[in-house]
Amino acid sequence: MAKVTFDENACKGCELCTTVCPKKIVMMAKDRLNDKGFHPAQVLEMDKCIGCKFCAIICPDVVITVEK
């Protein structure tokens, strides 16, 4: 069991997190914009998350909190 939480309005949509996820579950929410006007990153299939922290480690804006 693992979970990632995005501080969505802090996301600047740089997409770096999407490139490091071993499960390829981090994706940009192309259907909406956050307060800053970026498409934020999101995880839809949270049950596949293994809590590896990779997305959080590469995030330049400390958007992601990881629980395991």
Binding site: G13, E15, L16, V20
Partner: protein, 250 residues
């Protein structure tokens, strides 16, 4: 479930002003994580440079002093000498550390000044809008090397880690990169060692961190990581350049 990754306490709850995908944010967070893990926030003084990271004083929950362009190692020297028990770090970019502040950098290192220097090398001037840096690669196009950096006209890029490693003062010099999770973890370990060395009074430590500048490179954040890997790392090899503890060198 418990939290296994969250915002470090030493990082102020203020959003970074940096561009999307800029690696300053990663390095800021690593420095804050190290400060938390070593439990030194109450004793740490940071020195902010002039450059994109000029506002670094807003981002750390520690005492901070903002320095003139290039002078951070001199300012840090003054802070450290005034109170040798404080942990003093500078956070500097390539223009600040390797151009206008070369003298301050070299002499703080030569003195073995017991401070920690975090050196962000992204091969370009970010703050002023993408001019040639002392670390700009040969052939790299910038606003002030519009035809690509030419050796005949602009000379060679400076390898600061290699240069400073020739001095006796430094205790630890390592070049890292933030292009991958593995390298980011490695960078954090290096930063931690650089702070630990200061706590152990071993003298000057510097971590050079190859970083991206998507805005001025004209690449997406993801493409920037690739450009860093393909162009910067071959010219600026990663690894330890000086370690008085006898760590394995490049």
């Amino acid at each position: 479930m418990e939290i296994v990754f969250q915002r470090p306490k030493a990082l102020a709850d203020v959003p970074f002003h940096y561009c999307s995908g800029c690696s300053h944010g990663i390095v800021h967070r690593l420095v804050a994580e190290v400060i938390d893990e070593l439990d030194i926030a109450g004793d740490t003084i940071g020195v902010a440079p002039v450059g994109c990271s000029v506002f670094a004083y807003n981002y750390f929950n520690v005492d901070m002093q903002q320095a003139a362009h290039g002078r951070a190692p001199a300012v840090a020297t003054g802070v450290k000498r005034a109170n040798p028990d404080n942990i003093v770090f500078t956070y500097q970019g390539d223009g600040d550390l390797a151009a206008i502040g070369t003298a301050e950098t070299v002499h703080a290192a030569a003195r073995g000044e017991n401070i920690t220097v975090i050196f962000i090398n992204n091969a370009i001037y970010g703050m002023t809008g993408g001019q040639m840096a002392p670390t700009t690669l040969v052939g790299q196009v910038t606003q002030t090397s519009p035809y690509g950096r030419k050796i005949e006209a602009q000379g060679y890029p400076i390898r600061m880690s290699e240069m400073l490693a020739t001095l006796e003062g430094p205790s630890f010099i390592k070049r890292c990169s933030v292009d991958s999770v593995k390298n980011i973890n490695d960078t954090k370990n290096a930063i931690k060692k650089a702070f630990q060395n200061q706590m152990d009074k071993k003298g000057f430590s510097m971590v050079e961190i190859l970083s991206t500048c998507p805005t001025n490179w004209g690449l997406s954040p993801v493409e920037s990581l690739g450009w860093l890997r393909e162009n910067m790392i071959p010219h600026y090899p990663l690894g330890v350049y000086k370690d008085i503890d006898g760590g394995e060198k490049v």
